[in-house]
């Protein structure tokens, strides 16, 4: 048990169900005493957005992107059968019935378990997201930060 194992996950998708899978794996790996990193890029960044609107200076394009993308993990849609958000509401009810943890709590739990959450700064620029709009206590980095974690990793996933 001396050498701590590593799990690294790239969360590219901004879909509720895919992000849920990523965070379930992350929490499971953390329970295995792995050092876990989730690298959020492109639409996956939305899982880290704060729910409330944060006043920041933005250009027109960036404002539009900000409006069109889900604000926070709870607002993300399903990858299949979303039906303009109806599907997502339905699955949340089903999850409640089966006692599955909703995505925002999974993110919280991951932070409690010291899962390292990294936001990709290059795609943050593309999507016009700023640090103030994302959760506190996360880290920022580029591809090198991800490779640095993944090169001696044991489990590596792209979701």
């Amino acid at each position: 048990m001396s050498d701590q194992k590593k799990t690294t996950i790239v969360l590219f998708s901004g879909d509720y169900d895919k992000a849920m899978a990523a965070y379930i794996i992350a929490n499971g790996a953390a329970a295995y005493d792995h050092e876990v990193t989730i690298f959020h890029t492109f639409w996956g960044l939305n899982a880290l957005r704060k729910e409330n609107q944060v006043p920041v200076k933005k250009g027109l394009m960036e404002k539009m992107f900000g409006k069109m993308m889900p604000r926070g993990a709870d607002k993300m849609g399903l990858s299949k059968m979303n039906y303009l958000g109806m599907g997502q509401k339905m699955i949340k009810n089903v999850m409640k019935k089966h006692n599955a943890m909703p995505l925002p709590q999974l993110v919280e739990m991951a932070q409690e378990q010291d899962v390292k959450l990294i936001a990709c700064t290059m795609t943050m620029d593309l999507l016009g997201l700023q640090k103030d709009e994302l959760l506190d206590e996360i880290e920022y980095g580029g591809v090198a930060a991800y490779i640095g974690e993944a090169e001696d990793g044991n489990v590596s996933l792209f979701i």
């Binding site: 048990m1 379930i24 929490n27 499971g28 953390a30 329970a31 295995y32 005493d33 089966h98 006692n99 599955a100 943890m101 739990m109 378990q113």
Partner: protein, 190 residues
């Protein structure tokens, strides 16, 4: 069957990955060698807990299902047990013990593991006194018989064999390595 545990964790109603996450948190409160009972209703938890225990070095004892509730038993890893050095000189191997058991010889077997470990499989006819209780209970053992002391890996039984020799037991043998490699018949508590 009733199995005693030092700690019980209620993970009933929780879905994956929560039983494992909770188990990981709870086991840090245990002393090495202590036994934890994890109650869960998630059907996947048996495979999960087993795999998790194997990877993290804890010892998965077994699972009992009672009215839809799965009760998993885990024993926290004890690093002191991993060392191979044994001090009690009289030892016997598993094959020798097995031929005596199969041949119905008049021998005594003392199993010094925790009751939960004993419950999930022990040599038929063995008496269970956990190492921690040996000091108070050794008089339950007959002095005139050839006494075989067994545990999981041969370390706790080594300590027990030394203690019994101190108490005046003459014919004490430590069984090595122990139940982890035992291939003979076993019994379970019901």
């Amino acid at each position: 069957m009733t199995i005693t545990a030092n700690e019980t964790l209620d993970a009933k109603g929780l879905a994956c990955p929560m039983p494992i996450v909770k188990t990981k948190k709870a086991i840090t409160n245990l002393e090495p060698g202590q036994v934890m009972e994890v109650q869960a209703t998630d059907k996947g938890s048996t495979a999960d807990i087993k795999a998790w225990a194997e990877s993290t070095g804890h010892h998965y004892l077994g699972t009992v299902e009672e009215e839809e509730v799965l009760k998993h038993y885990l024993r926290k890893a004890d690093e002191a047990e991993a060392k191979e050095e044994t001090k009690h000189e009289e030892i016997t191997d598993l094959e020798e013990l097995r031929s005596k058991v199969d041949g119905n010889e008049d021998i005594a077997i003392l199993d010094v593991r925790e009751p939960a470990e004993f419950a999930f499989g022990h040599i038929p006819g063995a008496l269970n006194i956990p190492l921690g209780e040996l000091e108070e209970r050794f008089e339950e053992l007959a002095k005139d018989k050839e006494l075989h002391v067994v545990c999981r890996t041969g370390n706790r039984s080594d300590l027990a064999a030394q203690k019994l020799t101190e108490k005046g037991y003459k014919n004490v043998k430590n069984v090595v390595p122990g139940m982890s490699k035992w291939e003979g018949s076993t019994e379970k508590n019901n």
